[in-house]
């Protein structure tokens, strides 16, 4: 990608208060993520998860990935979460509300997760060199078009991800069939 073009395209878009928005969105994402796993009521969890998803979508926008952000909103927040809410309302949560919401193994799980976190942090601090401290600006304006090129190819050639795309559609088909068969009372 030619950086010259990129700077030209992004010339008009000077990011504003980037750190502020980053910390706000990141904080929102993490806090509501915390709410997802701590709330007793599944609907509250789902609502918190929606907030997380939307803040992550905002982070994508800050990373100049508008198409991924759009997909995140339309598929995750609009589709999957409605499905989640639908199922939560379908299954009885009266009983689960009164019971323990964490299982017996929770200390072990917590410790394991903390270890994982420590490992991550170690990797980040040690491997600072690994993550190049740079941000190559991708052209935001033609993000969708470029992704489309990768997915479908252009001028008759197959794109890099065309095959994967087809496989993904197959995966979705299988998931649809599985879900239908699973939920049908009488087949």
């Amino acid at each position: 990608m030619n950086p010259a073009i990129n700077t030209a395209v992004n010339a008009g878009m000077t990011p504003v208060a980037t750190p502020f928005f980053f910390y706000m969105l990141a904080g929102l994402a993490v806090l509501s993520g915390l709410a997802v796993i701590t709330r007793r009521n599944a609907v509250h969890s789902a609502l918190a998860l929606i907030v997380t998803l939307l803040s992550v979508a905002g982070l994508y926008l800050m990373l100049y990935a508008p198409f991924v952000a759009g997909v995140q909103i339309i598929v995750y927040a609009g589709g999957i979460m409605v499905l989640f809410l639908f199922v939560i309302m379908l299954v009885n949560i009266d009983r689960t509300l009164k019971e323990r919401s964490f299982n017996h193994m929770w200390p072990i799980g917590l410790v394991a997760s903390c270890l994982l976190l420590a490992m991550f942090m170690g990797a980040f601090s040690k491997g600072r060199a690994l993550f190049v401290d740079r941000m190559i600006p991708l052209p935001e304006g033609s993000n969708t078009q470029m992704i489309a090129d990768k997915l479908y190819g252009q001028a008759g050639r197959m794109g890099e991800y065309t095959f994967a795309f087809e496989i993904a559609s197959l995966l979705l088909l299988v998931a649809i069939l599985g879900a239908v068969i699973m939920t049908k009372k009488k087949i």
Binding site: M1, L53, F67, V68, F84, I88, T96, E99, S113
Partner: protein, 102 residues
């Protein structure tokens, strides 16, 4: 404030990932376990998109899109299984999904 670097995003993603893992490991309600998996997938996505920006190519974003597709499939199948399970056992608790332990 300093500039936001890739590492910042990675830390956020790591936090979300850990939250997701904790949720998967400790919660009893299958629905919330599934939601925690979504958290994990989102953390991965965030990493991928951040790397995509770091390297200045689109592969990360492509992977993120495929992961979203995968998440949709996972949610549909997972919730389908959950409903089928709930129909038979009247519970959504992971602890009680123990038929194979016999």
């Amino acid at each position: 404030m300093t500039d936001i670097t890739t590492l910042h995003y990675l830390v956020v993603a790591a936090a979300l990932f850990i939250l997701g893992v904790i949720g998967v490991l400790t919660r009893r309600n299958v629905v919330i376990v599934l939601m925690s998996i979504e958290l994990i997938l989102n953390a991965v996505n965030l990493n991928l998109v951040a790397f995509s920006r770091m390297w200045g190519n689109l592969h990360g974003q492509m992977f993120a899109i495929f992961i979203v597709v995968d998440a949709a499939a996972e949610a549909a199948a997972g919730l389908g299984i959950l409903i089928a399970f709930f129909r038979n056992k009247e519970t959504v608790n992971v602890d009680e999904i123990d038929l194979l332990k016999w």
